[in-house]
Symmetry: C2
Amino acid sequence: MAREIERKFLVANLDWKQLAKKKTHMAQGYLNDIQQPGSKSSIRIRLEGDEATINIKSLEIGLSRDEYEYPVDVSDAEKMLKTLAVGPVIEKVRYLVDIEEHTWEIDEFLGDNDGLIVAEVELDSEDEALELPEWIGREVTNIVRYYNISLTQKPYTTWSEDEKNSFE
Amino acid sequence: MAREIERKFLVANLDWKQLAKKKTHMAQGYLNDIQQPGSKSSIRIRLEGDEATINIKSLEIGLSRDEYEYPVDVSDAEKMLKTLAVGPVIEKVRYLVDIEEHTWEIDEFLGDNDGLIVAEVELDSEDEALELPEWIGREVTNIVRYYNISLTQKPYTTWSEDEKNSFE
């Protein structure tokens, strides 16, 4: 069984930016409200670098769901996310930074999560030693409100000062 | 200014079918409920013969609306209309029948309008003489519930016997 082991941190400053080897603009949002009674599908626009898609998934309960995905123009995807998205848009710039044998993924959120920067690194085992770069801040690996699914439901710009400054 | 002059009839029998020079399967339906508060777009799947599209239109009030349209696979469109459409699906087979200088469009509805067959002919002027083929039935040109927009809101299978049999 494959198992992903990741640690997640805030950043202490922006020194990592000059080290980035790659920068990708990513955004996704929904065109319909899947919470509405009678909704039969989710309709998602996703933008990743110079590619964009529209994805339609059936909302059936059960093991399998139908899924349809088609490419759309990046400029169309940007405009749809800006003007037609229902609910929060997850929008971020992902930077890749190599530090020794690890590649850090640093997500600088925009839109409804503006102000949040999270650095993630994948490890081979849970007890693998990891030297933290000096621009790494507090660890948030186990704080649920930083999970991607949480940020969709309760985006960072709606957090209280307490939620932003507490690490329990 | 262009102005379309059309007369619309029911059919008295199915004799027109053997005269058809072309037959096209057409269907359209919406993936979201545009009546829901908070809806920002309409998301329509349309199937016409061997082509299908997904169309997204902004629901702004005003002169102009943004519109996005992409091709989708016909088999995907058929399955989406069958399983994911919200509200009535307009589905029909359109037959073209040439009678002297006129081409009749005969729509045999399926799905939510099953049982309805309507024959339309375009004329050059309102008082143009028109010889009616023997398979033509009652004229319904001026009956609002036969308009396409009406059939979307109140499909034929929901009509009372009175509504089906009255021609006023």
